[in-house]
Each structure stands twice: as structure tokens, then as C-alpha cells.
């Protein structure tokens, strides 16, 4: 019951904070701007469709293939936005309250420290999961409206995207129980940026010298274990693509999606197990640390 109280309080706090309001306004503006830009782009494509695709695809199929690219691009944007929101909103989850001294009147109340951490974690998880899902479906719906493309494995794509956010949330939760807010935010942000850089380096080296990429592959695996966000994004991008049989119909090649930013392979089951462990264990480490922390 007290856990639900802390969750409700966290939701209330997040909604009242100007940051959340700013994110909501900017997200709405983004959606409106996207509708306008996409409409302009579609009009341009339709007016030049015969020359743009060399006349090999019907205008309808050409629009669908454009929809695939727009899906990847816009959901990648959701991935970035939600990730940044997760880091900014939750880097101070515990440390912020400790630094401000607001825990001094909450912790002595009849509530366990575990309930405080888990209640806050749950509150932030709800905010981030709902925000991500809303943006995800809003953008996919706009693209479907304009191009007719709707990913077949849409829920799998959303699932891996949400796992990404929960993994990041686990990391910020744990960090905020150990280090000050600014340090926590910086660490998670650096890790979040390092993961795709490792993918890019791995991709380039693999393209140039495929035989010497084993060491880099191992480094990439270690980085993905430390911060699995980039690997999960690759999984999300896979689920946004059409099935292999439809690729040729849309005039697309799987090679064009084997990039440092996208993947034509699903996330390995072992990684998914690791991510589930990551999402559950990191907040529990935060609980253990917070229970022993002097305030």
C-alpha cells in the first residue's frame, strides 16, 4: 500500500515538474511537425515517383517502402527521446532526494526503504513506458496514415524498445543510490553514447578487415552486457522491418538494413535473458545500497 503511495507521489511529482510539461509540449510539436514534413515529402515522392524509383515499383509499393525507412528513422527518434527523458528524469531518483534533504521526513515514517526505492522506480517506469508507447504508436500511426506501412511485429518492436528504457531506468536507479546526481547522469549518458560508437567501429572494421574483427566483437559484446540499449535498439529495428518475403516486393534489400544503426537479425535470446536480469537486479542493488546508506 505504501509502495503504491510512493508510486502515486512520484507520478504526481513528475507531472507537476516543468521538465515533463516541456517534454510533452515538444513531443506534440514534434508530431505536428512530422505530419507536415511527411505530407510534403509524400507529395514530392508521388509527383516524382516514376523517376525516383526508376519505374520498377508501383506508386503504392514505393510509398510502402518509404514507410519502412520512415518507421526506422522515427522510432529511432523515439528511442533517443525516451532514453534522454529516462536519464534526465531519473538520474536524481534517490540521490536528488538525499541531496535536497527531502528524505529526512519520509524515511522515518512507517515505510521501508525498499518500498521507497521500488515505489519510485515503478512510478518512473510507468511514465517512461507510457510515454514511449504513446510516441511509438503516434508516429507509426502517422506513417501508416501517409504511407500505408504498418510493421507486422509491432508489439515485438515496442517490447524491445520498452526493455531498452527499463534497462536504462535500472542503470539510473542503481547509480542514483551510489553516486551524486550529476555523476550518475554523466556516467549513464557516456555509456549510452559509447554503445552505438562501438557498433559503428565494429561495423567499419568488419567491412575493411573481416578477419580481424573478433577482438572488437568481444569488446562490443562486453559493452552490450554493460549497457544493452544499443543491442536492443537493433532488435527493435529488426521488428520494424517487413518480413524477408516482402523485402523484394518493396524493392528493398536486407543488406541496406545491415548497418550500425539497424539490424536484420532479432535480439539473441541470451541477451534478452541478460536484459531481464539487468532490469530486475539493478533496482534491487539500489534497494540494498539505499537500505545501508546513512542519510
Amino acid at each position: 500500500m505504501t509502495l503504491a503511495l510512493i508510486t502515486r507521489f512520484t507520478l504526481q511529482e513528475a507531472i507537476r515538474r516543468r521538465l515533463f510539461l516541456a517534454v510533452l509540449i515538444l513531443s506534440t510539436l514534434l508530431l505536428v511537425a512530422f505530419i507536415i514534413l511527411l505530407s510534403i515529402a509524400i507529395n514530392l515522392i508521388q509527383s516524382n515517383s516514376s523517376t525516383a524509383n526508376g519505374g520498377t515499383l508501383s506508386p503504392h509499393l514505393f510509398l510502402l517502402s518509404g514507410g519502412v525507412f520512415f518507421d526506422i528513422l522515427m522510432i529511432w527518434l523515439v528511442y533517443l527521446l525516451s532514453s534522454l527523458l529516462t536519464i534526465v528524469l531519473t538520474a536524481n531518483m534517490i540521490s536528488g532526494e538525499v541531496e535536497a534533504g527531502t528524505f529526512a521526513v519520509i524515511v522515518p515514517k512507517p515505510i521501508s526503504r525498499a518500498e521507497i526505492v521500488m515505489g519510485k522506480w515503478l512510478g518512473f517506469a510507468l511514465i517512461i513506458v507510457v510515454y514511449t508507447a504513446l510516441m511509438f504508436f503516434a508516429l507509426l500511426a502517422i506513417i501508416y496514415w501517409k504511407t500505408g506501412y504498418w510493421p507486422e511485429q509491432v508489439f515485438s518492436a515496442l517490447g524491445t524498445l520498452e526493455l531498452t528504457m527499463l534497462a536504462l531506468l535500472g542503470l539510473t536507479t542503481m547509480g542514483s543510490a551510489f553516486v551524486p546526481t550529476i555523476v550518475n547522469g554523466a556516467i549513464v549518458l557516456v555509456l549510452f553514447i559509447v554503445a552505438p560508437i562501438a557498433s559503428i567501429v565494429q561495423f567499419v572494421v568488419q567491412a575493411i578487415k573481416p578477419t580481424q574483427s573478433l577482438a572488437l566483437q568481444n569488446i562490443g559484446t562486453v559493452i552490450n552486457l554493460i549497457i544493452p540499449t544499443d543491442a536492443l535498439w537493433h532488435g527493435t529495428s529488426f521488428f520494424l522491418l517487413p518480413s524477408a518475403q516482402i523485402f523484394p516486393l518493396l524493392g528493398l534489400s536486407t543488406d541496406s538494413f545491415n548497418t550500425p544503426f539497424t539490424s536484420t537479425q532479432p535480439v539473441a535470446p541470451a541477451l534478452l535473458i541478460w536484459v531481464a536480469f539487468y532490469i530486475l537486479v539493478l533496482p534491487l542493488i539500489a534497494v540494498v545500497r539505499f537500505q545501508r546508506r546513512d542519510l
Binding site: 535536497a100 521526513v105 524515511v107 512507517p110 545501508r292
Partner: protein
């Protein structure tokens, strides 16, 4: 020291806290009883706040045991019976006063009409009626102290721990809070008061503990801690040898003012001995113009104890 018939509300035994090799509190032991107002005195850095934080579960002791209302501090039901106001409290600024109290009330397990009633009551008690919908971010320092006290007594706790309650208040606010504490004490609430305001502590507290450099130096009722002699100033019409001799027999020392030979400073052990002085003056046939005990204050006791400890 056990008080007959009174249940302990705080029992601290052999408490030690070390922060990164710095000893904040060492071998602290004391007992506070039900219905008592207990003053906890000490200079800055003496370890007072550490003890209060241990009593509220904010800090874990390195060694020693603490029992509050008969249970370990992490006992959930016990925590429902404790109120706490930290020094210079910081609250969530985005909350309205009423929302703030409702949140803390719910943490205590209060719900529905009872919670609403208690919120109204405590807001009135601390003088914040009419400020229900004002955001805490717009509150002055004094108002923050008041709303902090309101959340501490919201659950009508058996024990309330107050850390420097009046530090942010103006003189009127200080007077109001003093009155409120007296009222709460009269209603049977046990009050643990960590304060620098020695006059407040002296006026309110039944017993005090003086702490310095992490160790308790004295515990007891203020009057029982006054170990220096009581000086009584007397002025008579004439000082005879007999009077000096008789006074000397009951006093620790008798000094005659060189500039005013009719003025004597008589040092006695306690108030009872002071009462004998008037009788002696009368028996020696002198006329008594002045008999004035020099008041011993808690402040003097505190300063002397701390100075002795530091030296």
C-alpha cells in the same frame, strides 16, 4: 537512573557511530521516559544530530542498541507513533500545504475523514490555517518550520523528536511554538528536543543531556546538575562578628564587600541552606534589607560543562 512507574520511550545503550574513521558519537547511553520533555544539548559538531538521526532510523549506528517505545527503530508499528522534524527541513516545494500533510498522513496510515480532520487540526495548531492551498515553495523559513512541525504531530505521536525547532522562527513564532510544545507535553506527548535555545530547553524540559565531542557529559534534571555553590547576596544594617561566625557555620564561604561592609556574599550548597540565612540574621539581631540568591542558569551550567570538557 530508572524512574518509578514510567515507561522508557527512548533507551540508548553504548551507542557509537563512526563516519569514515571520524568518531561522531561514542559510548552514548541515556534513557528518556514517557511524558518527559528531554533536552539534548551540545555545541555544533558535538554529535547531537547524529544521535537524532539514529533515533529516527536515518543513520545506522556502528555499535550499540537503540530502542524507541520499547522496540527497535525499524519496527513499523513503532514508527507510526513517532513524529520527527529535522533541522532546517526541506520539503517538496511543488506540493501545497494540504497535499503535503495528506501525503505524510497517508504514510502514517491515516485515510478519509480522519485524515482531513487531522490536517485541519494541525494546520490550526501551528498557525497555518488558511494556507492549505499555498505551495510550500512560497513558504518562508518560519512557515516551513511550522508545516514541518504539523507533519510531525499529524499522527498524534507518543514521541516527537524536534531538531532545532525554533531556529527559523521570529520571536512571535518562537513564543507560539513554545506554547504549543507546552500544550503537547501537557497532553502527554513525550518530547525530545535537540536545541541551542537553552532558555527554551530550561523552561520546557524535565531533564537534559549535555553532549560534547560525541560523549554524554551530564544527564539529569537541570536543577540537579547545578554542582556549583549557590551565591546569596545579603545586605544588613550592621555586620557583627557573631553574624559572620554563624553564617560561616552553614555556608561554604562568606565574603564581605570591601566597599560596602554591610553587604555579604554567602555561598551555600542549595536553596535550603539559603533559607537558613534569613533565620541566622534575625537571631543575631541584625536588620535584613536584601536577601537575593544569584540565579544559576542552564546556560551557565552548559557553558561550564562544555569548557571543562574541552580543557
Amino acid at each position: 537512573m530508572e524512574k518509578k512507574g514510567l515507561a522508557p520511550v527512548i533507551e540508548v545503550d553504548g551507542l557509537r557511530k563512526v563516519y569514515h574513521r571520524i568518531v561522531a558519537v561514542d559510548e552514548v547511553s541515556f534513557v528518556m521516559y514517557h511524558g518527559e520533555a528531554f533536552g539534548f544539548l551540545g555545541p555544533n559538531g558535538a554529535g547531537k544530530s547524529t544521535v537524532v538521526k539514529i533515533l529516527t532510523g536515518l543513520v545506522t549506528p556502528t555499535r550499540g542498541t537503540v530502542r524507541v517505545l520499547g522496540n527497535p527503530i525499524n519496527h513499523r508499528e513503532t514508527r507510526k507513533r513517532i513524529g520527527y522534524l529535522p533541522e532546517l527541513p526541506t520539503f517538496h516545494r511543488w506540493l501545497q500545504a494540504r497535499e503535503f500533510l495528506e501525503f505524510h498522513g497517508r504514510l502514517y496510515g491515516l485515510r478519509g475523514p480522519l485524515l482531513e480532520k487531522r490536517c485541519r487540526e494541525v494546520l490550526a495548531l501551528v498557525g497555518l490555517s488558511g494556507k492549505e492551498h499555498q505551495k510550500l515553495g512560497t513558504f518562508s523559513k518560519g512557515m516551513m518550520q511550522r508545516i514541518g512541525l504539523a507533519q510531525a504531530i499529524l499522527n498524534r505521536p507518543d514521541l516527537v523528536l524536534l531538531d532545532e525547532l525554533v531556529s527559523g522562527l521570529d520571536p512571535v513564532g518562537q513564543r507560539d511554538m513554545r506554547e504549543l510544545l507546552r500544550q503537547l507535553k501537557a497532553e502527554g506527548m513525550s518530547i525530545f528536543l535537540n536545541s541551542h535555545q537553552l532558555a527554551d530547553v530550561e523552561a520546557l524540559c524535565d531533564r537534559v543531556a549535555i553532549i560534547n565531542q560525541g560523549r554524554i557529559l551530564k544527564v539529569g534534571a537541570p536543577h540537579s546538575l547545578f554542582d556549583e555553590p549557590l551565591t546569596v547576596e545579603i545586605r544588613v544594617d550592621a555586620v557583627s562578628t557573631q553574624l559572620l561566625h554563624r553564617l560561616g557555620s552553614v555556608a561554604l564561604a562568606v565574603r564581605q564587600d570591601e566597599e560596602n561592609l554591610c553587604r555579604l556574599l554567602v555561598e551555600v550548597q542549595n536553596d535550603e541552606a539559603a533559607a537558613d540565612i534569613a533565620a541566622i540574621v534575625y537571631e543575631c539581631g541584625a536588620r535584613l534589607y536584601t536577601l537575593a540568591p544569584h540565579q544559576r542558569s542552564l546556560e551557565q551550567l552548559f557553558l561550564r560543562t562544555i569548557d571543562a570538557s574541552n580543557s
